[in-house]
Amino acid sequence: MKCFSRYLPYLFRPPSTILSSTCHTEADIISTVEFNSTGELLATGDKGGRVVVFQREQESKSQPHRRGEYNVYSTFQSHEPEFDYLKSLEIEEKINKIKWLPQQNAAYFLLSTNDKTVKLWKISERDKRPEGYNLKDEDGRIRDPSTITSLRVPVLQPMDLMVEATARRIFSNAHTYHINSISVNSDLQTFISTDDLRVNLWNLEITDRSFNIVDIKPANMEELTEVITSAEFHPQQCHTFAYSSSKGSIRLCDMRLAALCDKHCKYFEEPEDPATRSFFSEIISSISDVKFSHNGRYLMTRDYLTVKVWDLQMENKPVETYQVHDYLRGKLCSLYENDCIFDKFECVWNGSDSVIMTGSYNNFFRMFDRNTKRDVTLEASRENSKPRAILKPRKVCVGGKRRKDEISVDSLDFSKKILHTTWHPHENIIAVAATNNLYIFQDKVN
C-alpha cells in the first residue's frame, strides 16, 4: 500500500455517494457506521432502527474503475420503538452502535444496540432452493393423493442469491441507563455493553445473565458528578478495557485483578490549564469517544475541540493533541445555547494507526497525519462528490480578512455535523455519515 501521508491533502475521491434520500425524515439520520474486520462489508444504523449493510464489489476486468464500490447487501429493521410500562418510558429504536464480530463461518455476525437492548444479527446468503413436492405438482396445485405412487425427495436447485438477516440473540434487561457503547472482546467469547453509570460483561452465547464489572453509581444520586461516555476492549489483551468519562479522564481496567473492576489500574488525565478555564471547561473536556489503536499501544480520545492520543505507558498527559476546530473556542456561548456543545463526535484510526480522522460542523471532517503532523479539512457534500473528482481541502478563516476559497466561522452550518466516520481496516477507504447521507471516499487509484 502507498504511504498515506504523501497524499494527505488531495487523497480521496468519491466513487459513489450512497444512501441519500432527497427528502429525509428524522428516521433516516445515520447514527452509526462501521466496517467489518476485513473491510468487505460496511454497516450503518439509523435513527429509525434500521441497519443497512453494504458489500464491496469484487474487482471485474471489464470495469476496473468500479473496484471498491460498495452496494447495498442487506437491509433490515434491527430495533423497534418500545415502551417500558413499568417506568413509563419510551425506548427509542435509534441504533447507537454497531460492532462486527470476526467472521466464524460463511455467515456474518454483528451486534447492534439501541438505548437498552443489544442484538446479535446473522447475515447469511442462500443460493439454493429445494424443489419438488410430493403432494403438490410443479404449479403448486394439490395432487390427488391416490395418484402418489412413489416418493420424491426434494432436490436443491440454484436460485438467485438471497441475503437473510436473522436475530440470533437478544441481550436485554441489563441496563437502567442508556447504552452508549458496545465492544467485542478479543477472546471472541464475551463483549461489554456500557451505559452512563455501568459496564456489563456478557457471554455472546448467554442472554439471560450478564456480569456488572464497573458501577460508578453513587449511593445518593445527588452526589453524581461523572458519567461513563464510552468503553472499549483492548484489541489484543482480552483482559484490558478502557472507559472514558464526562470529566475528561480515561480509566484502564484489568479484569484479571478482580471480578469487579471498580478500581482502575491506570488513570489518564491531563491537568487543566488554569489560564483557559471558563464556564464551559467541564463540558468541552467531556470525552465523547475512546478508541484503542490497532496495535494496542495507544488510546485516542475525542473531546469537543480536540483529539488526543495517549500512550498506555504515560498517564499524566497525552502524547499528541490535535485541534479539530479551535476556531469555535470563541463561539462556545452560542454553541451552548443551540445545544451543539453536547454533540458526541467519534474518532477513528486508519489501518496502520498513522492517521486519525474525526468530524466537525458544516459537513467538514478532519484528518491528522501523526508522522508528518500535517492536517487537512475535507468536506462531504454532493457538489464535490462527483465520481473521480478529488476532494479539495477546505479552510476556515479565523481572522478578519477572508481569502478566496475560505469560509468564515460565522457562515458555518452547525446543523450539518459529521459525528460518525469509519476507516477501512487495511485500505484507504473511509465512510463518512453526514446526517442522512453516507459518503464513501477512497484513495486515488494509482
Binding site: 466464524q104 463461518n105 412413489s150 489484543q236 471480578a259
Partner: protein
C-alpha cells in the same frame, strides 16, 4: 433385512389415525390444518396398498414447511422417512438433501444432528456408515455451539461403527478437513474428534493426527485454542505413554501460559487428567511447575479454576505432592485477594481436609488450614462467609470431639451471630454433623438467639428458610428443649402476615407431630391451634382450619373427633363466607379420619346446612364434600 417389511410397522395401520401419528399432534395454523386434514380425510378413507405412501409423502414435504414445528416434527421422524425410502435412496437422495439444509433454525439442526447419530442401519449398516459424514460435517461448521457439539457427538458415535479401513479412508480425512478449515467453527469441532479416531488408525496416520492437534493448540483464534485445551486431557488418555511425555506436556505447558486467560483456565482442567496418566516420579518435573504457576496466575479466573478443581487435583497428584505443594497453595487461595477465589476455595475446605493423607491430617489442618479458616469467618465478603458456613461443620467429624470443642466451636458460634442471615442459615442447616461429634448442647445457648433472630427476620424468605429447618432442629435438640424455647416461635409463625409463612408453619406443625407423637400434640399445640378459632381476624380463624387439615391424620381419630371436630363444626356459623367454605373443605379432608357415627350424626347435618348457604362458593364446596364423603 428386518426393515424391508411394511413401511408402517412402527406406526398405526394406515388410515386417519395412522396419519395423525405420523404427523404428530403439534399445533399448526388453521389454514394448514384444513389443508392436510381435508386431504387426509378424503383420501385415506379408501385405504388400500398405495395409501401407505401418503403419510410419508406428507412428512417429506413438511421437511420444508414454513412452520418450524412441522419441520422439527418431520426431522424427528427422519427414520420413518428413511425406512420408507430404503437404504439406497436414503444414501443417494435424502442425505445429499440434508447436507445442504444447514440454513434452518437451531432446534431443527440440533434434532437433525442427533438423528444422524442413530442412522447407521438406515443407510445400510456399518458398510455404508461413511455416507453420514457429509451432512454431519456441514452441521459441525454452523455457528451455534449446541448444534456443533451435537454434530460432534454424533460423529464420535458413528466413528465407532466405521471399520478400521473406513476410518482411515473416510473419517480421518474429514477430521483433517475440519482441522484445516477456513473458519474457526470447523476447527473447534475437529478438536473433539481426534481422540475417537486416534486409537484405531495406523501409526503414520497417528503421527498426522498428533501434528494436527499440535497445530490447533497454537491456532490464531482463542476459540480454537480453548477447544483444544478442553480436549487435551481426553486426547492425552488415548495417546501412547511416550507421546504423552513428548507431545502433550509441551502443549499443556504452552496452553497453560497462553496470553488469554480464557485459555489458561481450561488448561487447569486438563492438568487433572494429565496428572493421572503420568507416573508419580514425573509429576514433579512435568506437571507441578505449571500447576504452581496456575495457582498464582495473575488472572483471578485462572486461580478460581484451580480452587474449583482443587479436590480433583489433589486426588490426581497424590498425597506426597499434596503435603508439600498443595497445602501452601490452598492456604494462598483461602487468602486470595479476590473474593470469588476465596469463596471457591472455602467451598472446598471440607473436601480438601477429608482427602488429606490420614497419617498427619490432623496436624496439617490444625497448623495450616485452621488459621486461614479462622480468618475467613470474619471475611468482608458475605459470599465467602456463607460458602465457608456451608462446609465448616463437616470439619468436626474429621477433627474429633476435643478439637471441635476447643477450636471449631468458637467459629460456629461466631458464624451463628453473623450479620448475614445466609451464613447463619448455612450453619443451622448443617447442625447434624456437629451433633454426632459433640452433641448439640454445646451450641444450644448460642443457637437459640440465632434461631429467634432468623425467625423474626424482616425478610419473609429468611423466615421461610428457618421454618424449613425446624423439624430437623427439633429432632436434634429434643422435645424438652423444643417445648421450652421453640414452641412459641412455631405458634407465632401461624399468625405471620405473609401467607407463605403461615402455610409453611402449618406444614411444620404436621412434621413436628410426626416426630413427637400425638400425645405431645394434644398437650402442646392442639389447644393453641384451636384457640385461634375465636380470633377476631378471619385469616387466623382460617389458619386453624388449615392446621386441622394438616394435623388430623397425624393426631389420629380420637383427638380429631373429640377436640378438632367440634371446633370445625362450630365455625360453620362463621359470618365470613371464606371461613364457611373452608369448613366444608376441612370436613371433606378430615372425614376419612372420623368414624361413621360422627360423620352421620355431626358432619352430615352441618354440610347439609352449608349446602343451602346463601354464598355460591360455600354451597359448591359443601356439595362437593357431601359427594366425596358419600353422605348424600
Amino acid at each position: 433385512m428386518y426393515f424391508s417389511g411394511s413401511l408402517l410397522t412402527t406406526e398405526e395401520p394406515p388410515g386417519r389415525e395412522g396419519c395423525a401419528v405420523v404427523l404428530g399432534q403439534k399445533p399448526r395454523s388453521a389454514a394448514q390444518q384444513r389443508h392436510s386434514v381435508t386431504a387426509t380425510v378424503s383420501k385415506m378413507a379408501g385405504a388400500d396398498g398405495d395409501d401407505s405412501l401418503y403419510p410419508i409423502a406428507v412428512l417429506i414435504d413438511e421437511l420444508r414447511n414454513e412452520d418450524v414445528q412441522l419441520r422439527l416434527n418431520s426431522i424427528k421422524k427422519l427414520s420413518t422417512i428413511a425406512l420408507a425410502l430404503g437404504v439406497e435412496r436414503t444414501r443417494t437422495e435424502l442425505l445429499p438433501f440434508l447436507t445442504d439444509t444447514i440454513y434452518d433454525e437451531d432446534e431443527v439442526l440440533l434434532a437433525l444432528a442427533e438423528q444422524l447419530g442413530n442412522f447407521t442401519m438406515l443407510v445400510g449398516g456399518p458398510e455404508y456408515v461413511h455416507c453420514l459424514l457429509p451432512p454431519l460435517e456441514s452441521l459441525a461448521t454452523v455457528e451455534e455451539t449446541v448444534v456443533r457439539d451435537k454434530a460432534v457427538e454424533s460423529l464420535r458415535k458413528i466413528s465407532q461403527e466405521h471399520s478400521p479401513v473406513d476410518l482411515e479412508v473416510h473419517f480421518e480425512p474429514l477430521v483433517k478437513r475440519l482441522a484445516s478449515g477456513d473458519w474457526f467453527t470447523s476447527r473447534t469441532s475437529a478438536c473433539g474428534l481426534f481422540s475417537v479416531c486416534y486409537p484405531r488408525v495406523s501409526s503414520t496416520v497417528k503421527a498426522e493426527i498428533r501434528q494436527h492437534f499440535r497445530t490447533l493448540c497454537s491456532d490464531d483464534t482463542p476459540m480454537v485454542r480453548r477447544a483444544a485445551a478442553s480436549k487435551l486431557g481426553e486426547f492425552a488418555k488415548v495417546l501412547e505413554p511416550e507421546y504423552v511425555k513428548s507431545d502433550i506436556i509441551s502443549l499443556f505447558t504452552a496452553l497453560a501460559s497462553d496470553e488469554q486467560d480464557s485459555v489458561r483456565l481450561l488448561a487447569v482442567e486438563a492438568c487433572v487428567s494429565i496428572a493421572t496418566l503420568l507416573p508419580q516420579e514425573d509429576l514433579e518435573t512435568l506437571v507441578m511447575p505449571t500447576l504452581r504457576q496456575a495457582a498464582e496466575d495473575k488472572s483471578w479466573r485462572v486461580r478460581y479454576m484451580v480452587a474449583d478443581k482443587f479436590s480433583e487435583l489433589q486426588k490426581a497428584v497424590g498425597s506426597e505432592i499434596t503435603k508439600n505443594d498443595l497445602v501452601p497453595a490452598f492456604q494462598n487461595l483461602l487468602k486470595d485477594c479476590e473474593a470469588e477465589v476465596r469463596a471457591a476455595a472455602a467451598n472446598k475446605v471440607k473436601e480438601f481436609c477429608e482427602n488429606l493423607p490420614e497419617d498427619n491430617r490432623e496436624q496439617i489442618i490444625m497448623t495450616h488450614i485452621l488459621p486461614c479458616v479462622k480468618e475467613l469467618v470474619s471475611d468482608t465478603n458475605q459470599h465467602v462467609k456463607s460458602a465457608l458456613a456451608s462446609v465448616i461443620m463437616g470439619l468436626s467429624t474429621i477433627l474429633g470431639k476435643d478439637n471441635t470443642i476447643e477450636h471449631l466451636l468458637p467459629l460456629f458460634l461466631a458464624q451463628l451471630k453473623d450479620e448475614c442471615p445466609e451464613v447463619r442459615l448455612n450453619i443451622i442447616s448443617n447442625l447434624d454433623c456437629v451433633n454426632e461429634v459433640i452433641g448439640i448442647r454445646q451450641l444450644s445457648q448460642s443457637l437459640l438467639p440465632a434461631i429467634v433472630e432468623l425467625a423474626e427476620d424482616a425478610k419473609w424468605r429468611v423466615r421461610l428458610a428457618i421454618i424449613e429447618y425446624m423439624p430437623l432442629l427439633a429432632g436434634q435438640l429434643g422435645v424438652e428443649f423444643f417445648d421450652e424455647k421453640l414452641n412459641t416461635l412455631c405458634m407465632a409463625w401461624l399468625i405471620d402476615h405473609v401467607y407463605a409463612i403461615r402455610e409453611a408453619a402449618t406444614c411444620n406443625l404436621m412434621k413436628l407431630v410426626e416426630k413427637f407423637g400425638a400425645e405431645w400434640a394434644q398437650n402442646t399445640i392442639v389447644p393453641k391451634v384451636l384457640g385461634m378459632a375465636n380470633d377476631p381476624n378471619y385469616l387466623h380463624r382460617m389458619t386453624t382450619l388449615f392446621c386441622i387439615n394438616a394435623l388430623s391424620e397425624a393426631c389420629g381419630q380420637e383427638i380429631t373427633t373429640k377436640q378438632m371436630l367440634p371446633v370445625v363444626l362450630k365455625m360453620s356459623n362463621d359470618q365470613v363466607a371464606n371461613v364457611r367454605f373452608n369448613v366444608a373443605k376441612s370436613l371433606q379432608k378430615i372425614g376419612p379420619v372420623l368414624d361413621s357415627n360422627a360423620l352421620q350424626t355431626e358432619v352430615k347435618p352441618v354440610l347439609e346446612k352449608l349446602a343451602t348457604d346463601s354464598d355460591m362458593d360455600v354451597k359448591y364446596f359443601a356439595q362437593e364434600a357431601i359427594s366425596v364423603l358419600a353422605l348424600a
